[in-house]
Each structure stands twice: as C-alpha cells, then as structure tokens.
Symmetry: C2
Subunit: 190 residues, 2 copies
C-alpha cells in the first residue's frame, strides 16, 4: 500500500490549504505548490488532475475533519461552552497567521467555481452549521447556555461573526477579532 513518497499527496493538500487560506483560490497556482515542495508542476498534476480536483479533495478533507470533530464533540463530557470554545479556537489560530476560514475564502470566489465544488462546499457548510447548532441546542437544553434566538439563527450569527471576524482582522487588526470572540461568548453565556 505504501508508496515511494506517500506524503507528497498529503503535503500538496496541506500547502494548498495554506495557500487558499492565505491568498485565496484564484490567487495561487500549481507552480506555487510545486516550488514549495521542490517538485515539478507536473508532479502536482499527477496527484490532482486539475485545480478543480485539488479543491474538491481539499473540501472533502475539511468535511472528514469536521465529521470527526462533530463525533468527538458529541461524545465528549464537556460543557457546551467548552465545546464552543474548541470550535472558536480554530478561528483564533487562523487569525494568528493572517489566514481566513476556507468557507469564507471559497465563498468569495464562489461564482468562479465549477458546480461540483459548489455542491461539496454546501455539504461542508451544512455539516459545520449543524454541528454548531447542535452544540448550542444541547447547551440551552441543559441550561448551560442562554440565548433568545433559535439555535439555528444563533449558529448563523456566530458563524458569520467568526468568518468575517478573521477577514476583518487582516485589515484592522487582531484586537477587533478578540472583541468579537469575547462578545460571542457573552451572547450565549448564562
């Protein structure tokens, strides 16, 4: 099963992920990836036939990741607020490297993407939104969280705060992101 350089494919995904979060989908090329990996661009095409395939794999990767996270969160004996924190932390980390959430990045380039990718992205969004919504609903039921909106709407508010929060942080600084982060918590804390 193992091949000569098994992690080239994973490395491509890793770098692609970085590039899309730092520069955006339409602003990076196979040359950027191959340069960083010290291979020729044809090698990247070997692993991913085209940019569309690479993006598909990338989004699928996120889906797998979040699916795992959703399972773990469900099983974990954590308070809702701690679960929410775990989720928010991902955005805080992005913020620290001047990167943005892949959903936001893709959303900005959405009208230039092939339909296949659009569908996969919808899948990803539904997954993430569902996860946050569930966490909120459970927290509310257990009395650990307090908010007046429906869990779905509250999830929308939080997601948009975070997604645009990291975008804004690039321009006006991390302080604004921090203010948003804290406010999100206050909004749902009992």
């Amino acid at each position: 099963m193992s091949a000569r350089n098994t992690d080239t494919k994973e490395e491509i995904l890793r770098i692609g992920k970085q590039l899309i979060q730092f520069y955006g989908y339409n602003a990076f090329s196979y040359a950027d990836i191959s340069r960083e990996l010290n291979v020729k661009n044809a090698a990247v095409h070997y692993h991913f036939r085209g940019k569309e395939d690479l993006l598909m794999a990338l989004v699928q990767n996120y889906i797998d990741n979040y699916q795992l996270m959703a399972q773990q969160l469900k099983a974990a004996p954590l308070k809702a607020i701690a679960k929410l924190d775990k989720f928010i932390e991902r955005y805080t980390l992005l913020c620290e490297t001047d990167s943005i959430c892949i959903i936001g990045s893709i959303a900005s380039d959405y009208n230039t993407l092939p339909d296949s990718v659009k569908e996969k992205v919808t899948e990803l969004i539904n997954l993430v939104m569902g996860m946050v919504e569930l966490t909120l609903a459970e927290g509310k039921r257990k009395g650990e969280l307090v908010f007046t909106e429906s869990p779905k709407t509250q999830a929308l508010l939080i997601m948009t705060n975070l997604a645009a929060g990291v975008q804004l942080a690039r321009i006006s600084g991390k302080k604004d992101y921090e203010a948003i982060r804290k406010a999100i918590i206050r909004q749902v804390k009992s």
Copy 2:
C-alpha cells in the same frame, strides 16, 4: 467610428465594482471590462494605468460614497433604527444579485494586494465602522436602541454578520441572510 462616451471612466468603475463583487479581485481581467464596454483593453489602461490604480479608484469611490452617506445619516431626522435599516439595505441588495460586499471581497484577497490599496481599504473600513458605531451610540443615548456591548463592539458584530451573511447567502441561500438580518435588528431593538 460613432458615439463618444465621456463617461467611459465611470463605466469602467461601475463594471469593475460589479466584477469585484461578483467574481473577486483576482478573478476578473481588463479584458472582462473592455468586452462589456465594447472597447479595447488598452482603452481601460488609458483610464487606469493598471489594476492597482483601478482598485485604488474603486475603493476611493466607496469612501466618497460612504462619506456622503455618513453626512446624510448625521443630518437626517431619522430614528436610529431607520438609519441602521438604510445601511443594512445595501447588503440586502447585494444579496439579491449574488454579490458580496467589497470589503469582504477585498479582505479575502488582502494578502495579494499592494500596500497602497491596503492602506486605502483600512481608511474605508474605519469610515464604515465609525458610521455604524456612531449610529448605534446615538440610538442608545436617545433610548431608541438597547444593547449591552459597547457601540464599537456591537458595530463589529453587525458588520461581520452582514459581510459574512451575504457571502453565506451565495452558498446556502437567501433565507439564511434574512434570518441574520432580522436577528441583527432584534439584538439592538428596545
């Protein structure tokens, strides 16, 4: 040949604005603009030396626009909630054409932009944020609005809800945007 078009320059700005909001900065070219205007791409270069200059002019255009809006809002004998509505309506309109806010669009491509543009965008953000903050602060002072966060933080929350709201709407539909829009109002309504 025929008809002289003195507003070519303005038309370029109009189309550029559309393109950046629909496709993103790195996904449109001078060819896209010249095609739509029925001129050659050199004509676009005549009015704006390069893409950087075009983007600069575009952002400046927004600054002028919002500066005017800020003045009008200050002077207008409107309740704070009505002023806020006027601002939100811009995003609702964007949403209807599957377009996103220029700030969000630029934020996503931020790391590919020249410094000159970055600075201008900061100017734009400060202007818009300041306008929303002021409206919120005034509304609170007059008892027309009620919210617990500082006006600045509340402005951050609203701005991020809207900016990411229109982005999200592209993917998961306008219903989500509508839910966000209504929740924003509820959050500050007395």
